[in-house]
Symmetry: C2
Subunit: 497 residues, 2 copies
């Protein structure tokens, strides 16, 4: 099995180069705010990217993979290692360098243009570069050819194994259910009042609190850090170095829920078994499963009544001017206020899925050439009304709101909602085993849930693809019924229904 | 001249890899304090080191250098670029890989052993690894063969162009002068009292103050940062990214003087002309010249009476409990108290040179095989008494105090004292041009000195070797008379002599 050893070594170097690249990115976002010149850093990142590419497409790598493919009786880890190695190799070797460079250049330009366009509510100025982006992504999908249809090939980049049809079969039936559910909540006579969240909360105190919560959630500060950045993110700079960032933006408590979200991502990466460290399997298996972990901690735990039964007195001590005489139950209802809104990243967990379904359907049509970039604002607004019952007042709060398309990420959006669905199904299983799990939260105790997730999800890293993993955990395929059940159980009491 | 273009490109990549390596090191020292596992980071650094080596020793690099050496009429920049490229190439190509690995391994072990030995005052336990280190450094010098004698070859690694003889000719005559000067100050009837510095000063306030001073000294926070670390240092992570670190250790005001010291290093790197950015010349030309800059800001400016005429009121506001009723003149005398002491890094600027001469002479004898490692404590103590009139009470405060030898840095020490000498000679020239320079400091104005240094030193990066540079600045070779003159002018008034 010397082939497997060689393969492992090549991809250990590949992982280390990726960790170095991640450090260059982390440092730029955390430590270089206000720097005069980031061109030098961009050159450094480009150099590392080139070295990663070179390492990957070497003749040696191709030969080893071919040899390893002839091996029989690989164990789960070796089989997965070969699968992921081949996947990484194919992605690099199938794409001509000119195409890769063109995609990078276009993304750099498109991002700048998008930023201005969003600021000035000027979709027209973004059209040429978005058209080019779509064309380049089509070309990329044609070269990769992972699936017969182009959009599935793009989806597969973020959710390995998933296809358009598979996702559509899940999203289509849940769509009307969500629409009706939102309508039902909206018709309730006693809706939550979230005005308490619009008061002023000292940003430094918010940050301090977020640190306290991270500790309680078992984020390990001996193999990670928390820092501030403009956009919160989680990044692994090593198998034992998983860092998160926090921002203190309005409305309250976005800083807290955002931190818990990133903590969920980090706990996943921190929980990967030692045998996988520094191998290509030492990372979450898909964006959807990753998102299931971040959302479980953010929404299922972090917005539960039991969580706030423990934390609210602390929050009252930090912000007596706002919360001293404000009842916990009302605060809990405020942070679970469901209502159609324009901006995806500010949406509640019920309407969120509809924001994603909108994008999923548009992306499919864009890639298939059924709709034109120039018609996007109209399509966006009309579909938005159909799904959420409101029409964005402008493109800034509509089709121009997300960074993804300008960066060339087409096929990424559906993984966010898949995350919610995976989350509900996994949590349902955890509850079967520990029916009184949420009693833990009242005591500020979160390790039983974490241990369950480590045992069933985290430790495996990328050994099992998302669909295998959910089968192993729950004994069935992804099933959106658990999500609807979760929503009903949670929101009917909050809305007095 | 396409050879020069190719050469420039190869070494731009080399510099970028070095910047990346510097980031890995900076991050480890600033952000990974208390991390469980730094092994992963060490592997990343080893990988980058390997890539740098590979880039450097490629056949292509050797060929280009040979071609470029045949070119005539190179301008100053191209000639220097070729010189430094060849120097870097030779250092990598002349050393067999086994030797490099052996040196690295030995240094890792020796450092650990040294730390324990110093802690336990147990020189014996350090002997075998120090012997091996000396042997490996001798072997390294034999392979490099930059100069006929081994010690000069080692010195040349840190102070390009300098030799043992050249330095000995400078150090030997100043040695008795320094000894006498210290004796003279010690015999004064009205010596400074430094007990005020042993009071408690809030570390956070010290850090805040150090930041305020950095701003006034024109450290550019748009192309650098200040952070905390266990040992203060300056590092370039890019031509426009020069970071410093600060620690708040006792005695006061070590945090402040240490920060000003690192600021001096940083201002040098920040002042290099744009044409040299991202080239192999974009760094200080030698350790001695670098140290001349850090010490000029730390000692000549930062311990001058005029500097404190401006800053003392601020310090009084920060630390009223200690300084409110304490006269500035006495404070200034306290921070310029000259007295023989055991620890080099805590020594005043007068006795400091004697600490260095001690090490310089011992290193020479060690490398030449004239003395044995096992006899070092005895030699250290007896020479120490000769130079400073006191005997270290133990090896922890004697021969075991420095990290350098255990890390394989033999030949580095003399550059520290050369820094003091270069500094005095350069500052003397600045005073010739601007006789009232120190009046600036009374007003918190430091840009005239900085502009002088930028024009005469900083902008050139590594174009001119130290001896050429000092000739260009002052019209003569390094001359220790300026340093003695500086000391007398400064210390006689302080000591009322």
């Amino acid at each position: 099995m010397s082939e497997m050893k060689e393969l492992r070594d090549i991809f250990t170097e590949y992982m280390r180069l990726n960790y170095i690249s991640a450090l260059l990115g982390w440092d730029q976002q955390v430590n270089m705010m206000g720097y005069k010149n980031v061109a030098g850093r961009s050159e450094q990142i480009a150099l590392i990217t080139k070295l990663i590419h070179k390492r990957l497409v070497s003749e040696k790598t191709g030969k080893i993979i071919k040899k390893a493919e002839k091996l029989n009786d690989l164990n789960d880890i070796d089989a997965a290692m070969l699968r992921e190695a081949k996947r990484a190799y194919d992605q690099e070797i199938k794409l001509p360098e000119e195409l890769v460079v063109e995609i990078q250049k276009t993304a750099a330009l498109a991002q700048q243009t998008w930023q201005k366009a969003r600021k000035n509510n000027d979709f027209k100025s973004f059209i040429p570069l978005l058209e080019k982006t779509v064309e380049l992504q089509r070309e990329k999908a044609q070269k990769l050819e992972t699936h017969p249809d182009l959009y599935s090939t793009l989806i597969d980049l973020y959710e390995p194994g998933a296809t358009y049809d598979w996702i559509a079969n899940i999203f289509n039936p849940i769509k009307p259910k969500l629409i009706n559910f939102v309508k039902k909540l909206n018709s309730a006579s006693n809706k939550p009042d979230d005005s308490i969240l619009n008061k002023e909360y000292d940003p430094d105190k918010q940050y301090e609190l977020s640190y306290e919560i991270l500790n309680k959630l078992n984020y390990d500060f001996e193999q990670g850090r928390q820092d501030r950045s403009t956009h919160p993110f989680t990044t692994s700079l090593g198998s034992l170095d998983v860092r998160i960032t926090t921002r203190t933006t309005e409305p309250f408590p976005a800083c807290i829920t955002g931190t818990i979200h990133e903590c969920g991502h980090a706990l996943y990466e921190m929980g990967i078994m030692k045998d996988l460290h520094d191998t290509i399997l030492c990372t979450g298996t898909s964006m959807g499963i990753h998102e299931s972990q971040s959302r479980m901690w953010e929404n299922v735990v972090g917005r539960s009544k039991e969580f706030w039964m423990y934390w609210y007195p602390t929050f009252q001590k930090y912000f007596p001017e706002n919360l001293k005489d404000y009842p916990m139950e009302e605060f809990h209802r405020a942070i679970n206020y469901v209502h159609p809104s324009f901006i995806r990243v500010e949406a509640d967990e019920v309407t969120y899925g509809l924001h994603i379904i909108l994008r999923f359907e548009i992306e499919k049509d864009l890639i298939d050439g059924n709709i034109q970039v120039k018609d996007l604002p109209e399509i966006w607004n009309s579909n938005f009304e159909e799904l959420l019952g409101i029409i964005p007042p402008n493109d800034t709060e509509g089709v121009l709101q997300d960074v993804h398309w300008g960066s060339g990420y087409i096929g990424y959006f559906p993984t966010y909602f898949l995350g919610n669905l995976y989350c509900a199904q996994i949590y349902n299983k955890a509850l079967e085993k520990m029916p009184n799990l949420s009693d833990d939260y009242k005591k500020g105790e979160f390790s039983n849930l974490l241990n369950y997730l480590r045992e069933n999800i985290h430790q495996y890293g990328s050994i099992y693809r998302a669909n295998d993993l959910i089968q192993r955990v729950s004994g069935e395929d992804l099933n959106s019924a658990y999500f609807m059940e979760y929503l009903e159980k949670k929101y009917y009491p909050i809305y007095g229904l």
